[in-house]
Amino acid sequence: MVENRPILNIVSHIVLILGIAIVALPIWITFVAATHDAVRMTQAPIPLLPGSHFWENFQQTLWGSGLSGTEIAPVWRMLLNSLAMAMMISLGKIAISLISAFAIVYFKFPFRMGFFWLIFITLMLPVEVRILPTFEVVADLGMLNSYWGLSVPLIASATATFMFRQVFLTIPDEMLESARIDGAGPMRFFWDIVIPLSRTNIAALFVILFIYGWNQYLWPLLITTDTDMTTIVMSIKQMLEAAEQSPQWNIIMMTALLAMIPPVFVVVAMQKLFVQGLTETDK
């Protein structure tokens, strides 16, 4: 719909600006808090304009002792852990669900639909529901405090499998047939035809899954006791409670700010493909 009425234009801009302001305000506060020193942050009213301690806070948070008076890992280490976990979860989920969707759509084997529904009902069992048995299994496998323990239990994805199944079903049968005539075997077809045709969907899913992985809280909290293995999202919460003193907002907010960067980077970098993947229907 293309309309050109000045009043409507102004109103819609006001609404949009208000919306952005509401979303952006907490982020602004976070940023401002990260630029003041610890003392200023405990005084009321909280500042609304940036202060002059950004670099100091930045360095102390990222490489330095972090929160003074505690024994938590430096934030770069947490970022690294989070990144490893999020990447392993998202890439793992994509790889596994691509392969299982491929099997379900393109191969005939006994109980094919049975397997499909089996995968599908696991949607009803998110980590929180199966957390005790999963913990038990991971502990028995000796995967506590490891990247494997952080990612493997979260790596199977019914949602992604289902989504890729739908994507594959939109690829016309003739594509498979002409690939067969061209002499492409199943794996060749998978790599040369199926993957490129699902490219945008893979990208869209990667963005969603990366953020899902990055934001994991409960699971890392349970299985990482070693401070070297903590992830950034769970640490922010711990920082609030850790020290027996009033929270050091400048450091905590700087950490929060740093925690936002990778997901934002992923979204921005994949934006074009992401939008295509969610809207494109043309095969």
């Binding site: 594509m175 047939e177 002409s178 067969r180 005539i181 002499g183 492409a184 095969k283």
Partner: protein
């Protein structure tokens, strides 16, 4: 190059048999068109030859190999699909070269062959475009190009022109024919369009309900249709069918009119008369009560009834003819243009 032999070929889906004991031999270099109404099993037959459908029973032989259990890629065939089935993410060049790449041909060889095919089909300028950047006709050419670069023994076409507009269809039809003659590759072409079938095929296999009605040259099919179905299917406008009785060299129509012909046949038959074989003749035996004149320019179609009956009858006359509804016109027909069919079985009754 290769001949193709179909032996007692049957295809069933579950309990329903869709192709019944098809036999046929296609010669080396021949262009055979499989034609028939929608749902008669044309695509199924073609796809069985391609190896995309399994054979329920019987044999398919390409050259001297029985190929029943060979993968499509090993049958040395190429197929052009109705919707072209080009890979959307590959350029025209990659689309055409993909099969060769899988076979392990060298880059230089692939390039040479692709360029050759592109030159034949005049798609050279589009080699680096994606299929979606091409028009329907250009995609069609690319699909053909993909088939010819592989230099196969057999081309298979499944209604390759049905997505094109009428004019382009006629043009591409001729091009396909020329290309096939130039390359001399045995080809099987599926269509439901009888005009397309007549113009393209060296021989036509007319399928109906999973049975082969007749397999012969276009002229054979036109001159001596083996069944009522073929008689009605081939030729436009289609043949008139009149109930009649034959006895000792005379055919009696439903209104009592008698015409010479019919040879030694006798009894009740369905008489087939092609509209274009009816010749206006004031003393002719066939009287038609004209209801409608359809002026087509070069010819005029007169639609009406056999006078005194409600048997519909169409006559085709050269030039411009006009007749008011209700006009009675008389026609004659040469004895050799009478086709007689058994009313029950639909089989041709030979004089």
């Amino acid at each position: 190059m290769a001949s193709i032999t179909l032996k007692d070929l049957v295809k069933s889906y579950g309990d329903t048999e869709v192709l019944h004991h098809i036999d046929g031999a296609i010669n080396d270099g021949e262009f055979v068109v499989i034609v028939g109404p929608s749902g008669c099993g044309k695509s199924t037959l073609l796809r069985m030859i391609a190896g995309l459908e399994t054979v329920t029973s019987g044999d398919i032989q390409i050259g001297d190999r029985v190929v029943n259990n060979l993968e499509p890629a090993n049958r040395d065939i190429a197929m052009v699909f109705q919707n072209y089935a080009l890979y959307p993410h590959m350029s025209v060049r990659e689309n055409m070269g993909y099969g060769l790449k899988i076979r392990g041909n060298s880059k230089a060889d692939i390039n040479r062959r692709v360029e050759e095919a592109a030159a034949i089909l005049e798609i050279g300028p589009y080699l680096d475009r994606k299929p979606r950047q091409l028009s329907g006709g250009q995609r069609q050419r690319v699909a053909m190009g993909r088939a010819i670069v592989r230099d196969p023994q057999v081309f298979l076409f499944d209604e390759p022109l049905s997505n094109l507009d009428a004019k382009l269809r006629v043009q591409m039809r001729l091009e396909i024919r020329k290309l096939q003659q130039r390359l001399g590759v045995t080809s099987i072409y599926v269509t439901h369009d009888q005009v397309e079938a007549m113009t393209l095929g060296d021989r036509l296999m007319v399928l109906n309900g999973g049975y082969v009605e007749q397999f012969g040259t276009p002229i054979e099919l036109y001159d001596r249709p083996a069944t009522l179905f073929v008689a009605g299917f081939i030729g436009s406008p289609s043949m008139n069918f009149l109930p009649a009785e034959v006895a000792s060299g005379m055919v009696t129509l439903a209104n009592g009119a008698r015409l010479a012909g019919g040879g030694t046949a006798s009894g009740k038959v369905t008489l087939g008369l092609r509209p274009e074989h009816l010749i206006a003749d004031e003393t002719g035996p066939i009287e038609i009560n004209v209801q409608l004149c359809e002026q087509l320019g070069a010819i005029t179609l007169l639609h009406g009834h056999l006078s005194g009956t409600d048997v519909e009858c169409v006559a085709s006359m050269p030039g411009h003819v006009s007749a008011a509804p209700g006009t009675l016109m008389r026609f004659a027909i040469a004895p050799e243009h009478l086709h007689m069919f058994d009313t029950q079985s639909g089989k041709r009754v030979d004089a």
